[in-house]
């Protein structure tokens, strides 16, 4: 049954959480500025709790099952992260407190910057970006400003491989770059010939996702970077897929100029049903002056007896401020906790088990589903979710049918270069039994596609709602519970 909304459940006069009466002499309200009514719900606390508990049960979540969502790195979110980030010592600090009163926070941020620098091989890190997309934007802002400062205004082209993440073009467009798509070669690497043809003085940069969205590590990465640098461009690294590389490879070592991380993917912070993320950005030495303002640094060195004083540093040619305060601090505490529990050996184990799981699944599935690039993969791989002799069956049908087997579907229809793509990323936290159950379901679905295709077309069958009419949603545009007088409704 559909759960009523909070407005359906509202009863005039009912109260939830209330506050004490005022303990100060009354001041008259500002006449002429007052609103008549506030059409908020009126519910008891228990009714509200039941409502939100009830709708929560209509969600799939990592805590419930396997989430092989490619490029999203849906790994387990350790419970300890939720405890440490809620310590009052962190949660009850105001961002404008005097720095002497928040040395714990600043130490944590400074150390996390150092950890990320070390893990990826860079000279500096900003923790300010709110999410991967904002990290990308910061990266492209830095590239934009760098060229402008050097009088290289004619560098307006940003090359984006067709196997890159989908947000890259929009992030570059925010800075006015002309987006030039770069094809992949037959092995899924950047096409070097095409790249050579674009290396001229209009080149601002290349946005490289490596491993790319096919889950493949570019076999010519060093050459790609060399070509771009030789032409005076910078290389942006999309670090969304860093899970494959932890403790194994540092993008900075091979010459990537600027890279963003996704703390909510690689470093286990929860996705929260769509956010908050956190997208720190790392840069090489020549780009340090362009980092957002401010970053955390040591402003008074310590000695054996006194700890250093941490504070804020304002990079001299900064691209500016890209959000309020300093970033998603609560997310940083979680990532810090996670990295502290891994160390070098633990990080390497993460990457190895993530890549092992992906290759295991790829091996088990590639005989039934077309694997367009048959190479060892990194943390994820892409299958084609259709068969030539079954024109009526699409990747979407397979995705929806997986829900009937209690799995979250893989990412589908991305990357765009694989027809009917199913992009599968198991992550390192899944055990072999779960992977085997997933393989069984996928093989069974392939069989159903042949023999009982209606099971796929009608799927899902057992979910809280079944396939939804997205056209109707876009046509009717019911975007809120109208209170009667809005939109004439």
């Amino acid at each position: 049954m559909a759960e009523p909304t909070i407005f359906d459940l509202s009863v005039p006069g009912r109260k939830g959480v209330t506050f004490p009466d005022s303990d100060v002499p009354e001041t008259a309200l500002p006449e002429g500025f007052l609103r008549d009514q506030l059409a908020f719900p009126e519910m008891s606390e228990m009714d509200a709790v039941r409502h939100f508990t009830s709708i929560s049960q209509k969600n799939y979540a990592i805590d419930l099952g396997f989430y092989p969502l490619g490029s999203c790195t849906m790994k387990f979110n350790p419970k300890i992260n939720e405890v440490t980030s809620r310590y009052p010592g962190f949660a009850c600090t105001h961002p404008l407190q005097p720095i002497e009163s928040v040395q714990g926070n600043l130490y944590l941020m400074f150390t996390l910057q150092e950890m990320l620098k070390e893990i990826a091989g860079f000279a500096g890190v900003t923790l300010m970006p709110s999410a991967g997309a904002q990290g990308e934007m910061v990266g492209t802002m830095i590239i934009h400003k760098y060229h402008h400062d050097r009088g290289d205004q004619q560098r307006t082209r940003m090359l984006i491989p067709d196997s890159a993440h989908g947000t890259n073009p929009a992030s570059s467009a925010m800075l006015g770059f002309e987006i030039v798509p770069l094809p992949s070669d037959s092995r899924g690497n950047v096409d070097l010939e095409a790249l050579r043809g674009l290396c001229d003085d209009r080149l601002a940069g290349l946005m490289l996702t490596n491993p790319n969205t096919l889950g493949l590590f570019d076999e010519n990465v060093a050459e790609v970077i060399r070509l771009v640098h030789q032409a005076g461009g910078l290389v942006y690294g999309d670090g969304a897929n860093m899970n494959a590389l932890l403790g194994v490879f540092r993008p900075g070592d091979v010459g990537i100029d600027v890279l963003h991380f996704n703390l909510h993917k690689t470093f286990s912070t929860p996705h929260g049903g769509g956010g908050p993320g956190s997208g720190p950005v790392a840069v090489q030495k020549h780009l340090l002056p362009y980092l957002p303002d401010p970053i955390v640094g040591i402003i008074e060195e310590g000695d054996e007896e006194t700890a250093p004083l941490y504070g804020f540093i304002h990079p001299e040619k900064s691209i500016g401020r890209i959000k309020t305060f300093y970033g998603h601090f609560g997310v940083m505490v979680r990532a810090f906790t996670y990295i502290s529990m891994l160390g070098q050996a633990g990080l390497r184990d993460i990457a190895e088990m993530a890549v092992l799981n992906a290759n295991y699944l790829q091996e088990k599935l590639k005989h039934t589903y077309t694997l367009p690039y048959d190479r060892k993969c990194m943390h994820e791989f892409v299958l084609e979710g259709h068969w030539k002799d079954l024109p009526g069956v699409h990747a979407l049908d397979i995705a929806k049918r997986l829900m009937d087997y209690d799995f979250h579907p893989p990412t589908n229809y991305f990357p765009l270069i694989v027809p009917e793509a199913l992009m599968i990323e198991p992550t390192e936290t899944e055990n072999k039994e779960t992977l085997d159950r997933f393989v069984d379901a996928m093989l069974k679905i392939a069989d159903e596609a042949k023999n009982q295709p209606e099971l796929l077309h009608d799927a899902p069958h057992n979910t809280p709602v079944r396939r939804c009419d997205e056209l109707k949603a876009a046509k009717d545009l019911v975007l809120c519970c109208y209170s009667g007088d809005l939109l004439g409704g």
Partner: protein, 449 residues
């Protein structure tokens, strides 16, 4: 630590893949770069990590132990227990973006309710599923307005009494628009509304004001809105959501866009984030909205369902032609805000709004009666934040208060060089009369010290 593989699992899986050892899975990585030595501290067990983090946290002073009058964009409100308790349900916080509506109705319905609450709070027609924070919401308003006029209007007017961080972020976001002018917030214009109104012209795409403004003042923007509309410009109002429990909402005042920092809606201070930016528009701007939107529909059986809609505006479909590059929203923070507004409800929400107003006015009155302190703008109504001019240097006052475990407020000279010796204080429902009296006592010592 978080990998379940036994030695046997690894062996069986490697064999199945057809390689001998784990290293073989990485042979595509150039050997000279493989397996770098990382200078990281040795790993901790969960028990040790919990203690280590507690130790780090203990180096902070908190608003729990200290009396705090800090605001300036982040406010210390009481958060009902139900908010965090529900937030910690794994079904909510370990879910992904609701791209698969069949198994995401919980998140989708919560966002739909969030959008509805924000529309009611601001008096607007359509709200998105949130931006990162108030500052990025302000930046998105600039981008929306420029796009609305197809980049033909080259001017954005922004009042100096808009949160400085919002203005900085707006400038950073538009740094590649070389012929764009963001003006109106110069020292010379000050927070003079008449001067700002006089700057509105046919080249103006957007006028951004704050309500209550950064200094807490409740300003009448009627004439500004009328003038902007006479020139065809859009008006965006950055609002404090708590104040909306009491004040005429921007929708009723004629604003085209209402946006703001959603942190006061049940989100902990957490040293500045994660928060949420709310963003709502009038009906005719609906298709220009960036960010996620949830709409109502039905499933194949005719059952009511919610889905992400109008996705054709978004980056993953339109790529470089998208209205913005944003792809996430502040999912869990919007859930916190939704639960907060629901459990407070009509009565509790208005109560908080009124308590903030009453206590702030008591505090302002008491402080202004002290020798050496006066209100900067005693004749303009204000909500829960106000500016005090001090005879002594603000740094000395703040240091003295800190020594008495009081965060005394925000030193405005940090952002406004013309406002020397000005201290801004915020008062929420958590502050008692006793707290205010104690603050005054300590302030009095400053003068005699």
């Amino acid at each position: 630590m978080f990998t379940p593989h036994t030695k046997n699992d690894v062996e069986v899986m490697l064999k199945s893949i057809g390689v001998e050892k784990l290293e073989d899975l990485f042979d595509v990585i150039p050997a000279e770069f493989r397996y770098p030595d990382l200078n990281l501290a040795p790993r901790l067990s969960e028990m040790e990590a919990a203690a280590e983090l507690e130790n780090i946290a203990s180096a902070n002073a908190t608003t729990k132990e200290y009396l705090s009058f800090l605001g300036a964009g982040a406010y210390d409100h009481y958060i009902p227990a139900a908010v965090d308790n529900l937030l910690q349900r794994g079904e909510f916080y370990t879910a992904y973006t609701p791209y698969q509506p069949e198994i995401s109705q919980g998140t989708l319905q919560a966002i739909f309710e969030f959008q509805s609450l924000i529309c009611r709070l601001t008096g607007m027609d359509v709200s998105n599923a949130s931006h990162y924070d108030g500052a990025t919401a302000a930046a998105e308003a600039a981008i929306l307005a420029l796009g609305h006029f197809r980049n033909k209007r080259k001017k954005i007017l922004v009042s100096r009494s808009v949160n400085p961080q919002f203005r900085q972020t707006m400038r950073a976001y538009t740094q590649a628009h070389e012929d764009l002018q963001i003006v109106g917030d110069e020292i010379e214009t000050g927070a003079d509304l008449e001067k700002l109104i006089a700057m509105i012209d046919h080249d103006t795409a957007l006028v951004l004001v704050q309500y209550p403004d950064f200094f807490g003042r409740i300003v009448d923007y009627k004439k500004l809105i009328e003038t902007a509309h006479a020139y065809g410009a859009l008006v965006a109002m950055a609002v404090n959501p708590t104040a909306m429990g009491m004040l005429t909402p921007p929708g009723d005042l004629g604003a085209d866009i209402a946006l703001g920092e959603g942190q006061p809606l049940g989100i902990p201070l957490s040293f500045g984030g994660p928060y949420l930016g709310f963003f709502a528009v009038k009906k005719d701007l609906m298709r220009k909205l960036s960010g996620r939107l949830v709409g109502e529909t039905t499933d194949v059986e005719g059952k009511l369902a919610y889905v992400l809609t109008l996705t054709a505006r978004e980056q993953h479909i339109r790529r470089e032609k998208a209205s913005s590059n944003i792809c996430s929203n502040q999912g869990l923070m919007t859930l916190a805000a939704t639960i907060y507004m629901t459990v407070l409800g009509k009565f509790g929400f208005r109560q908080v709004s009124n308590l903030c107003y009453q206590k702030a006015h008591y505090a302002a009155k008491q402080i202004s009666q002290l020798e050496g302190f006066s209100l900067v703008d005693p004749d303009t109504p204000f909500f829960h934040e106000f500016v005090v001019k001090c005879e002594k240097p603000v740094d000395d006052i703040l240091d003295h208060l800190l020594a008495h475990e009081i965060f005394g407020g925000y030193k405005l000279e940090n952002d406004y060089p013309e406002m020397k010796n000005c201290l801004m204080l915020a008062v929420t429902e958590k502050i008692s009369r006793e707290d205010i009296d104690y603050l005054c006592e300590v302030l009095e010592e400053v003068n005699h010290g």
